[in-house]
């Protein structure tokens, strides 16, 4: 199928990617070509074929519920772009009025 520019913008928003106008045009063309190529999968009759969602099927791998040492807080915060009092600092996500 062919995508539209609106589709590209919608996907970019879902993926939280800021794209330039040039990128949008380029991806519109390239993604349409790749999806068109992928449509050859429609040739196959997949009735009753189960999906394979894992490389090697394993289920419920458990470990004993025993506390183990974790990395020191300062090591884990070391890479943060902004931190304060052992926490990651981000912009406000709630409205100024605090109504949320």
């Amino acid at each position: 199928m062919s995508l539209t520019l609106a589709d590209v913008e919608k996907i970019a928003n879902l993926a939280r990617l800021e794209l330039t106008e040039a990128e949008k045009k380029q991806y519109l063309e390239q993604l349409s070509a790749i999806l068109h190529y992928a449509e050859r999968l429609n040739e196959l009759d997949l009735t009753d074929i189960p999906p394979t969602s894992h490389a090697i099927a394993q289920q419920n791998i458990m470990r004993p519920d025993v506390a183990e040492p974790s990395l020191p807080m300062e090591d884990l915060l070391h890479n943060a772009p902004q931190q304060k009092e052992n926490q990651f600092v981000v912009q406000a996500v709630l409205d100024d009025g605090g109504s949320a």
Partner: protein, 486 residues
Amino acid sequence: MDISKLSLVELRAMLRRGEISSVAATEAMLDRIVDVDNDLQSYLTLTDELALEQAQAADTRLANGDSTPLLGVPVAVKDIICTEGVPTTAGSKILEGFVPPYDAFVVQKLKAAGAVILGKTNTDEFAMGSSTENSAYVTTRNPWDHERVPGGSSGGSAAAVAAGLAYAALGTDTGGSVRQPASFCGIAGLRPTYGRISRWGVIAFASTLDQVGTFGRTVADTTALFQAIAGHDPNDSTSLNVPVPNFEAALTGDIKGLRVGVPKEYFIEGIDAEVETAVRRAIAKLEELGAEIVEISLPHTSYALPVYYLIAPAEASANLARYDGIRFGPRVTGSDMIDSVKKTRALFGPEVKRRIMLGTYALSAGYYDEYYGRALKVRTLLKQDFLNAFEKVDVIATPTSPTTAFKIGENVDDPLAMYLQDIFTLSVNLSASCGLSVPCGFDSKGLPIGLQLIGNALQEATILNAAYAYEQFASWHKQLPVHGKL
């Protein structure tokens, strides 16, 4: 004696006999890196001081009669594998300056084995690519022809090993990223079975397809590194809790009675004639060595590429959601929180954005069944092809790549042409088989050609021994590239 020309196995034996020191071997590698790597650009980060410390410690232990599996052997690690205290970028600007607080399990294993880590090698951004041109940092060149790519995504590791800048190296292989660069650079590269090696601390691309792999100039070298890092890890619930065979001891060179399948779907239009000739000749050698050649069919082969390019981007789009500029990596501040995340994620390179977009679309409401869901079902058929084949044969032999190394810039504007590079390798990942590439000749331009050998899940010993038998006979690994000029 040129220390850099020794194989890992030769070096290890000399270290144990006290005929050479780890410091001397490490210095030889570091000197050579200074000479050659300005042109080649295989390393992103050199850890020379750490390496010399590790080498000194190894020499002390060697003098005391210690002999852990890789004691004193200098190796390289792909820069998508976390190393404590050493920058790890995944070839991406979005991880610029990131210094992991821990070692990946495989790096812990390397250190426990006594290896000396020379540095971190270049990679396509988040391992997405077949030429290493998608690295946000440098363009690695092929040691056999500096105008050509080394393959990818583990192109830095492959080029470093081929050029004698490490005795062996770690890579990762999600769709062929160890085997194809091994083929392009004329060395041996193994992609083990999914679950054979822990992925803990390996930056995720596609979680049902990713696996750590190993490079060596010889099959035995590749095997020695693999042996050191294989095994169960409680921190990776997908790592298999099964015994690890003695792979090195399995290299007997005896392949009498081995059943080698040749799938007709892999000798198709579009494959380079010189590649086909070399691979067919290699298969004939296997027969001379006592193998039985069987024509087989993997009927769904032509669907592997579209399946892969739906599943891998879908998994990637989920895995890469974590790069939001909040907990690690750079942050680009925008008008609000969401805007900051979007602006920060604009640091991803074009191929990564393309795959995130593709994956997001394939998983989005209304298209999930049509694209991702359908791809998962065809994956079942592909897997069944291999299981059926492995009832008749022990090993499947194919070309690793349809061509030899292409020129830098040749495929960058056409993603589909670049994706076709992986056409012979990615079924191994989709079917959870294991595979390797071993050199099987050169084309008329002097570029290496690779033979791919595929085995059933957990049958690495079988394919390694077949490759070893072939290598002993063919000796392509004795030809080394010439460096120092562009």
